[in-house]
């Protein structure tokens, strides 16, 4: 029987509770959002005693389902003030599932300020260990020490100094699979700061001595689904071995988005970057080939992933620099800061991993700081110095560490490309208007992952949509957001979307896996319905926290500053944005 582990940081108690009936089919985002809605007062201060942090593996996490090791982390965000779900791929998620834990709910606050704890969970239970000796240090120094202490079979969730400082861009760091590096982040929304406010520095889990798979209600059905999805992933051009993701990584998109005129450049002042080819996936592949003397294909971020899109960047002497230079991170510090060197973006990403920061918010903030005149666009050395300010927690670092919106306000910058206080990721809404609808209306603040998944025509019975019609964009965005909410609940990585978009059996496989594990009888339409239920629940939380449709808008400058090369402004009418929520 799986349990909910309630971790009370006020009296340092960890208690296993039965799973309430209504939570039983849930996993991942569905569960973190449900528990947040049920237990967190929407008007609470995100860093106060009444906020909580909820961890939940997905529905099929801890089975042999391919690419299914995501963990969702939820609560109220100190960056946006909205509900938040952020997720990462890591063996930590599988271990938690195998330990029979459906969710971990972290609540309360220690009486003693500045005290930090580590929670160690094994088959024998959960215990608190003082973590003071790890405070104030970089995660590249600390993670190896923790693996020495708790063994190589352990997996770690942790926060860096940014979380200790309670900065709104502090991420939640999990180790990767290959090198046990502090490199897999549930980055967005500053949940690392909430953990910092609770004095919880690490959760170390070890599922040694437990069965390799979680209980499955209908093994035959699960297996049938798993095989269909695996086949789809292995054959699709994007997800197959030595396909686009495995060869070039997500950064293959740098050149593609640049050619689409939608690669945000120099703090969202252009849609193309003249240095794009130097920081794209091809350049990463070529750079590693030259430095290592052989072709290097990408690796799995987490056990059981068959897409394997995570890369490692090597220094000129052939030693490892950082993992990983993925699209959003390379863009955030590259094109968006006018920097065209992979060695510089690599170092900036490494610093994020070390200090415990979300790369998207950090890159967006450095770009706003450049706009403010704290550095020239393209000045990598100065960008690195600004990142060290964050790591040291200097007054300037504290400003930057609270994100692009705070930095823009402090330095009087009008061009701050965020929604609900969260900086936009690497798709320009003036060039890609549909994604602007998602940025504006998602419950999460500007977030690309909130709505890029299964094609609406697979999910809806209404037939194909005309994506050209402005009115159509609201429905496209809503359906994509709903489908994404479901995929984020399964434990699958969103990248399965590429395969299940084009291969219907792959989509069926995903649903059959869930039905196999849970003993449910969901159809494709149920997937849409569940997704919409999740969105409704999250939206209700945000409304109670004070958010209205006025907050569902892209920043004003995008409505009057035409973006080259398309030279278009953001002209999707407010009524269209509002209609996303009319369902």
């Amino acid at each position: 029987m799986s349990k909910i582990l309630r971790v009370n940081m006020t009296d340092l108690k960890a208690t296993y509770e039965d799973v309430p009936e209504k939570y039983k089919p849930m996993g991942g985002r569905w569960l973190t959002s449900a528990i947040t809605c049920d237990e967190v007062p929407p008007t609470c201060h995100p860093l106060g005693p009444n906020n909580k942090v909820v961890f939940a593996p997905g529905i099929v996490t801890g089975t042999a389902a391919p690419t299914s090791s995501r963990v969702s982390v939820g609560g109220k965000s100190p960056l946006t003030g909205t509900i938040k779900e952020t997720n990462a791929g890591t063996g930590w998620s599988q271990s938690v599932a195998r330990l029979g834990i459906k969710a971990i709910v972290v609540e309360g606050q220690p009486k003693e300020k500045g005290k930090f704890w580590l929670l160690h969970i094994t088959k024998d239970g959960a215990r608190f260990i003082p973590a003071d000796e790890y405070v104030g240090k970089g995660l590249y120094e600390v993670y190896p020490k923790l693996f020495d202490r708790f063994g190589k079979k352990a997996d770690i969730m942790g926060i860096g100094v940014a979380g200790e400082y309670q900065m709104a861009m502090a991420g939640v760091c999990f180790n990767d699979h290959e090198g046990k590096r502090p490199s897999r982040y549930a980055g967005r929304g500053g949940i690392g700061a909430v953990l910092g406010s609770k004095g919880l520095k690490f959760i170390v889990v070890d599922s040694t001595g437990l069965p390799a798979a979680i209980p499955i209600a209908d093994e035959a059905l699960f297996d049938q689904g798993r095989k269909k999805l695996t086949e789809a992933l292995r054959t699709h051009a994007v997800t197959k071995p030595q396909g686009a993701l495995n060869t070039y990584g997500t950064a293959v998109l740098i050149n593609i988005m640049n050619e689409a005129g939608g690669l945000p450049t120099r703090n969202f002042s252009s849609g193309t970057f003249e240095g794009a080819a130097k920081i794209a996936g091809e350049a990463i592949f070529e750079g590693n080939k030259q430095r290592l003397g052989k072709e290097l294909y990408n690796h799995a971020c987490s056990p059981g992933c068959i897409i394997q899109c995570s890369n490692t960047w090597y220094k000129p002497d052939g030693s490892e620099h950082v993992s990983c230079q993925e699209y959003e991170s390379v863009w955030a510090f590259g094109a968006n800061c006018g920097i065209d060197s992979l060695d510089v973006t690599g170092e900036l990403i490494r610093l994020c991993n070390d200090y415990g920061l979300d790369t998207i918010e950090a890159g967006g903030t450095i770009a706003v700081a450049m706009e403010a005149g704290l550095a020239r666009f393209g000045d990598g050395q100065k960008a690195i110095e600004l990142m060290h300010e964050i790591g040291k927690g200097t007054p300037l670092g504290r400003i930057l560490g609270n994100g692009a919106a705070v930095t823009g306000k402090v330095f009087g910058v009008v061009r701050v490309p965020g929604v609900k206080g969260q900086n936009m990721p690497a798709y320009e809404p003036r060039a890609v208007k549909g994604i602007g609808v998602t940025y504006a209306t998602t419950t999460m603040g500007a977030d690309h992952t909130a709505g890029y998944t299964i094609a609406p025509e697979i999910l809806s019975v209404g037939g194909k949509l005309d994506a050209l019609a402005v009115e159509g964009k609201a429905k496209v965005s809503r359906d994509l957001q709903a489908a994404t909410a479901f995929v984020d609940s399964t434990g699958h990585c969103l990248f399965i979307a590429f395969a299940i978009l084009d291969i219907a059996e792959g989509f069926e496989g995903m649903v059959e896996e869930c039905n196999g594990v849970l003993g449910t009888n969901w159809s494709g339409e149920d997937v849409n319905k569940i997704g919409l239920d999740i969105l409704r629940m999250e939206r209700k939380f945000n409304e109670a926290a004070g958010f209205t449709k006025v907050h569902d808008r892209v920043p004003e400058f995008m409505k009057y500053e035409p973006l080259p090369p398309h030279n278009t402004v953001y002209d999707v009418p407010d009524e269209v944005l509002d209609s996303v929520w009319e369902f």
Binding site: A260, A431, V432
Partner: protein, 99 residues
């Protein structure tokens, strides 16, 4: 003339094939030319062309007409990663509709 930017394995049709730079071919345009016609004349095997084709920064079908002064970018089939449902494709191409 049309300016064609090639990526990945398609860079082999350009003189400069450095994967960290731009690989450009300038090709003449004839009356009524489509993207497909221009690429075929260049000798690009169409099975190697993915769905990520951009004419003047617009995600485009291969049937789209080209004209003098246009800028075309073509990615190979092993490099397609566009979240295509957000990108209305300009021009319709039945064979190529789903990319």
């Amino acid at each position: 003339m049309i300016e064609i930017h090639l990526y990945g394995k398609l860079r082999r049709f350009a003189r400069d094939q450095d994967p960290t730079s731009i690989s450009v071919v300038h090709a003449p345009v004839r009356e009524g030319d489509t993207i497909r016609a221009v690429l075929e004349r260049l000798g690009v095997p169409m099975e190697e062309v993915g769905s990520n084709v951009f004419l003047n920064w617009q995600y485009s079908a291969l049937t789209r007409k080209v004209k003098d002064g246009d800028r075309l970018a073509v990615f190979p089939d092993d490099m397609q990663l566009l979240y295509k449902w957000y990108f209305p494709k300009v021009g319709r191409d039945v064979e190529d509709d789903r990319g």
